[in-house]
């Protein structure tokens, strides 16, 4: 923590600091504990009282001490006497402050002090509810992307010329719609680590042993001419020329040709991703595309078959033929076997999450909880995605067969499937850095359309392109961490942090739709990477139970009875969900304890070795040699 106070302030200012699951109450409690520690006293009542006073005094003189402002964060407006209609504890009166980054609500009358602190990026919609009441109250509803809704009431301003705090809020919540830049472009915090350097495609391919005799790294997309949503570096079979690739690109939707995503270090079986072929109703064919798939199969000597996983349900794939798309026919692609994985499209997923939100927020009906959960089909979708990834991983690992994965455009379901399969296959992606690389590679560089799916700073909340595809992927990863608690270097807090900053627009990582756009906007130059923040305080995110097995494949069980709803994400705002044990704290203690024990063992071993060396004449065959340090991976 001592490396920079600023990192600390950042932690406490984002709502993510919720100890893995609880809502504001918890961070509140933390605050109190912190003050307690500072003053080294146990009388909490007078302490909080003085704290309240301090706050009042400060408020008269708006100062940064109360609001933990980030660099370049500026208070835009503040209003007293705003009532937050909390669905759990009822109306709370307090002051509302809006900055260019966050909404900050604070009520000091209550014990404990109530604080609501959320980045404006999570807002998907701000609307006035109903007309002003007879008492002159106006009500505003805030719909958030992180599975909660907020409601505020405040008095209509008599001075109608003055903007209400909510109008200011709307302006800053949706900067893109208001021709302003996202806060990420203003935020200038310096971290000891530069997260933009985490992913270097060539280094990553080199780690996989590429290029090799069958695969080369093509520069055909160097200027994003072949495909604007693909990365610059593409790995393709050596036997296919760049010219042929160009022809293939005209046959694949959005030019997203089949390229290598991962290669098995032993069997040379590969995971290849692409978009759908533009077969159309007439059953168009493309010689070069057929040749490319054949070359992919040939690159793996172990198998004479190629599996094509089409993520869509069969019906949808067939329906796509109407729009010129479709799927590989078995006539054209001999030796290839086509499998449909029955995963639904972004609209179904969006609807499912909407239902889930209805079921979990704000109140949960205990007696019908499970059937309500079932009716959202959320777990069913999770299951299908995991099951699909499992089949891919199984084909590659057990069948030693190369696979091609695609959906329609190859940037939603395909990204989910390939990245999950890669996590199962390659333990590198289960480390913190490896996971970052995986996200950078499979999601960011291969053009998952984050801007479109999340609508950063865009007020058009009904946009049909929005969909929780990435959230679903993180949920799947979380399901795997449940089943293999020792296989992942990161903890749950890491995943929640990623999701929180997915929406916060504090970091540049998840901005824009493609690598090309990001370069054009100079995102790496102008913004801070989420990984800078994460990698500067890794100890927060380390799973103390992690054991590193370099070559071990995970095959999760995917039945619904083995999946769980990720309650500590979806239901974290509910105070009834407060964690029973401060898991996060305990994790840290465990890490410290482990390191300490490790150190002591080493010390004692050294000492014992010294001693036996000095007295070796007395005793021979010292058993000290048999003591090997217990491996820890901290």
């Amino acid at each position: 923590m001592e490396e920079s106070g600023s990192v600390e302030s950042l932690c406490s200012s984002t709502t993510t600091r919720s100890d893995l699951s609880s809502g504001t109450r918890r961070s509140d409690a933390e605050l109190r504990v912190r003050t307690k520690l500072q003053h080294n006293t146990l009388h909490s009542v007078p302490k909080t009282a003085t704290k309240g006073k301090a706050f009042e005094k400060v408020y008269k003189d708006p100062s940064k001490e109360v609001l933990p402002l980030l660099p370049e964060e500026i208070i835009q407006d503040a209003a007293k006497d705003v009532t937050y209609i909390c669905p759990f504890i009822g109306p709370i009166r307090g002051t509302l402050t809006v900055t260019n980054y966050r909404l900050f609500f604070r009520c000091t009358d209550r014990e404990p002090v109530f604080v609501l602190d959320l980045p404006l990026g999570v807002l998907s919609r701000v609307e006035k509810i109903g007309a002003a009441t007879s008492r002159g109250d106006v009500s505003y509803g805030l719909v958030c992307k992180d599975v909660r809704n907020l409601r505020f009431v405040h008095k209509e301003l008599e001075d109608s010329l003055k903007k209400s705090v909510f109008e200011v809020l709307m302006k800053f919540a949706f900067p893109v719609s208001n021709n302003m830049s996202l806060f990420a472009f203003e935020y200038k915090q310096v971290f000891p680590v530069n997260g933009w350097k985490v992913y270097d495609p060539l280094a990553e391919y080199k780690r996989q042993g590429l290029p090799n005799e069958s695969w080369r790294i093509s520069k055909v997309n160097d200027h994003y001419e072949l495909c604007d949503s693909y990365p610059a570096a593409l790995v393709v079979p050596v036997t296919i020329t760049d010219e042929e690739l160009r022809r293939v690109s005209s046959f694949r939707a959005k030019g997203r040709i089949p390229v290598l995503s991962w290669i098995h270090p032993e069997s040379q079986a590969t995971v290849v991703r692409s978009s759908q072929p533009m077969v159309g109703q007439n059953g168009r064919r493309c010689k070069e595309d057929e040749k490319l798939l054949q070359a992919i199969m040939d690159a793996n000597a172990q198998s004479h078959k190629l599996f094509i996983f089409d993520a869509r349900p069969t019906v949808n794939a067939a329906a796509n033929k109407m729009k010129g798309g479709g799927y590989e026919s078995e006539d054209a692609y001999q030796n290839a076997e086509l499998v449909f994985l029955d995963i639904h499209n972004i609209h179904v997923m969006r609807e499912s999450l909407r239902k889930l939100k209805e079921v979990v927020y704000p109140n949960i009906e205990d007696s019908h909880w499970l059937s309500n959960l079932e009716s959202t089909h959320w777990l069913e979708h999770i299951k299908l995605i995991l099951a699909g990834a499992l089949r891919i991983a199984d084909k590659v690992e057990s069948g030693k067969t190369s696979v091609v994965v695609h959906c329609s455009d190859g940037w939603d379901r395909t990204a989910q499937l390939t990245s999950l399969a890669l996590i199962m296959l390659d333990s590198h992606y289960r480390t913190i850095r490896g996971f970052q690389i995986l996200l950078e590679k499979e999601w960011l560089s291969f053009g998952h359309r984050f801007q479109l799916r999340l609508g950063h700073g865009d007020k058009n909340h009904t946009d049909a392109d929005r969909s929780p595809i990435f959230l679903q992927f993180i949920d799947c990863v979380w399901q795997m961490t449940r089943q293999f608690p020792a296989a992942f270097e990161f903890n749950e807090y890491f995943l929640i942090t990623i999701l929180d900053h997915l929406y916060s627009c504090l970091f540049g990582t998840f901005l824009c739709n493609s690598e090309q756009q990001r370069l054009k906007e100079e995102v790496p130059k102008r913004t801070v990477s989420l990984w800078s923040f994460v990698n500067s305080q890794l100890e927060e995110f380390v799973n103390p139970l992690y054991v590193h097995y370099p070559s071990h494949v995970l095959f999760p069980t995917v039945g619904i009875r083995h999946l769980q709803l990720w309650v500590s994400y979806y239901i974290r705002w509910n105070p009834r969900m407060r964690p029973q044990e401060p898991v996060h704290q305990r994790y840290k203690e465990l890490l410290a304890k482990r390191a300490e024990l490790q150190k002591r063992v080493e010390e004692l071993q050294r000492e014992a070795a010294n001693r036996t060396a000095s007295s070796s004449s007395e005793r021979t065959g010292s058993p000290t040699l048999s003591i090997t340090p217990v491996q820890t991976f901290v």
Binding site: S371, A487, R561, V630
Partner: protein, 810 residues
Amino acid sequence: MLTGSKTTFKVRQMVPDMKERMLSHSNFHARGRDVLGLCCLPGECVLQRAVLVRKKLSAKEGGGWLSGTLFCTHFRVAFVPQDSRKPDDNADPVLLGDHDVALASIDKVVAVGPSRSKLVTPSCSLKFTPEELVLYCRDLRVLCFLFDRLTPDTQAEEITYTIAKTYQPLKPGTILSFQNAALGSIEMKQFLSNRRRDPDMNWFECSADWEQELERTGATGWRVSSVNDRFEMSTSLPRFSVVPQRVLDTELKKTFAHFNEGRIPRWCWRHPRGSDLLRMASFQNNIYHEKDDIRNLELVLFGGQQLCVIVDLGEEMPSPADIQLAHTRLRTLCLGDISSSVSVPDDKWLSTLESTRWLDYTRCCLRKAAEVACLLRGGHMTVVLQEPEDRDMNCVVCSLVQVMCDPHCRTVVGFQGLLQKEWITAGHKFLSRINYHRDCDKEEAPVFLLFLDCVWQLWAQYPARFQLTEHYLLALHDSVHLPLFSSFLANCQRERCRRSQHLPQSYTPVNGLRELPMGAPEEPVDPPFPPVWDWVLQYSSQRRARFTQPVSQPAYPPPLLNGNLNTNLDRIWHNDGLPGSVFLLSRSSFSCPSNLLPWRSGNSGSYWKSHRRAPSSEGLSGLERLIRACSLSETSDSTTTLHDPYEPLLPLLFGPCVRVWRGCYLRGALHAQAFSHPMSSCSQHPLEQLAWEVQQLRDKLAQASVRPHQNQSKRQEPQRLESNLNQNANNGTFLFSSSRTSQQQPSPGRGPAQSSILPRAQRTASDPPRASQKNNGKHTFLFGHQEPQSVSRYGPSPSAKLPKHKGNSH
């Protein structure tokens, strides 16, 4: 670079104990090993065996397959893996090996052939050679054996038949032959009669046991009455009950008639804040209440307190029939039985699970217990649990409350004592409820299993606060299905005593002679049935080692001064200051119906009438505030509760928080999971893994520090190091409880004088005969030659009682 060969581990190589075992076996390699390799119990004979069989390992065991030999004996179906240890003839018999299942636990035998599967019954004939044998067990395990192509067909068929014929679909009469097969041999009887009970746990079988409990909880104003010593006052109550000191036995005798089955209000536990927990059956209404009786009844009900809350468990709790129905549905759902036509599609799993209502009942019990725990926390009242029969839900709620409130009850030893106190001696009708004999189907209801589920829910929400583990709960869950244990083979203590022909022969004067310490010749000589707590008899040491985990804080709070920790809590109800206010807690709200105490209503209650006023609303609201605390779960920050050992563990009862016990009910779900991570399994809690690793480190530490210790030249240094470590550990709050320090520090002058550093010491003074005997045993051990090992073993050590297995596991 991706390097290294991509090996796919067979997980059994990596599971620590397995690995260890395999290592130790490499020594045997050269020698010719007994191919059969089954370690039989005395008198057990193998009926049939099949070689080259593969057993499917559950996800918990790591998945994959294990090959070996399958046996069927009169008692069990045993599986011996190929590489298993050669049986040691001198070892004490263990009823079940790690891969075995007792015939009595088997519910269904299904043979899977090339094209179909068939339920095998003793009478039917197989028309195909089974390729796979699936055993569905009553304890929700599913064992799956695969016959290799090399298994002789005849063996595969024969063993399937044999199992089908030998396993007993339990019915009247068959149970006896099973019991005989297991324990009937002379050697076994002899072995059992020589076994000594675990002296560390409280058995609640003699008055000293109860006195010890009174003392442990710091309860004053109560005494042990042996008025029911010969079961004359109540047949279903234990011989000893704890009643207020002020009530004489002669007076007490008159109260029995006022309660159903004579189950009078009895003291169970005292909360450190001075409230007492009692339980009783419903009142007998059609009885004339004499003036003197009324005084006694009130005394018995109130103890020394001014306020009494009666918690009605009759109405809103699930009835035994409900529980039975729910459990049957849950079983069907979870087993996904091939033989039955009911198979729930995956996408209907959640709603079907909900419709079993099992989770609702779990929640209901937990909620009630949490309410009671919150009440008790208020201090200075008696909370009396009332159920018509006082033999089902009272057991559940009363013991759950104690698990929530009393850290001692979250250790293995304490938990077993708790079950002795609130279930076994208290007369839960185990025999009828489990229905071993299949002769009381109407009574059958897995009330105890529901309780275990509730404990698991607590455990799952507060894993670090329990010394016992999920493995322990599972072991207990499975043992319930074995009709071999005296604990479960009777409906009340009287039956148990009668069966062992050990009804006390002579008249024992009230409060007279104290029972002899246990282990004395009083121990029944001819008991065929051991208590379930004799885990050494049931499980291998590897499995028993997983019953406990280190606890984060001293499991035992410092000794209590008369149980009155309570000081600054506002005593709201004292303002309305009525001695003898009684409230009824029902459906989470308080009321004061006029007929709550039958003797107070009507004219007969004239004695107390003058005192009876309508209780003020303040009193009610004060109580309600206590309860609300629990329903909102907003009482306290987790930061504060963590450090206060007296704060009850209040479970979250929110829909998503009450979960299905996957580790138990879904053990049967055999899923195609080709490999799993070496260090993981689907349901093992991470803490277990971590505990193991820390244990490794500690062992190494102990080794490393012992070695220089032997070296005479520098003796002091390692000791200092070690004690340093312990100090740090204490500051670090996690893995080592404070009192261990005192045990660990090698003391220059060893001897009985050192007992003063033991936490147990306080007891020694006041409870001379038993305690000193125990402590003697302890001294020889603790200060004996094996110190390093005692240091290395984690267990319930920082305790009033000794780690359980120490004596016999070394």
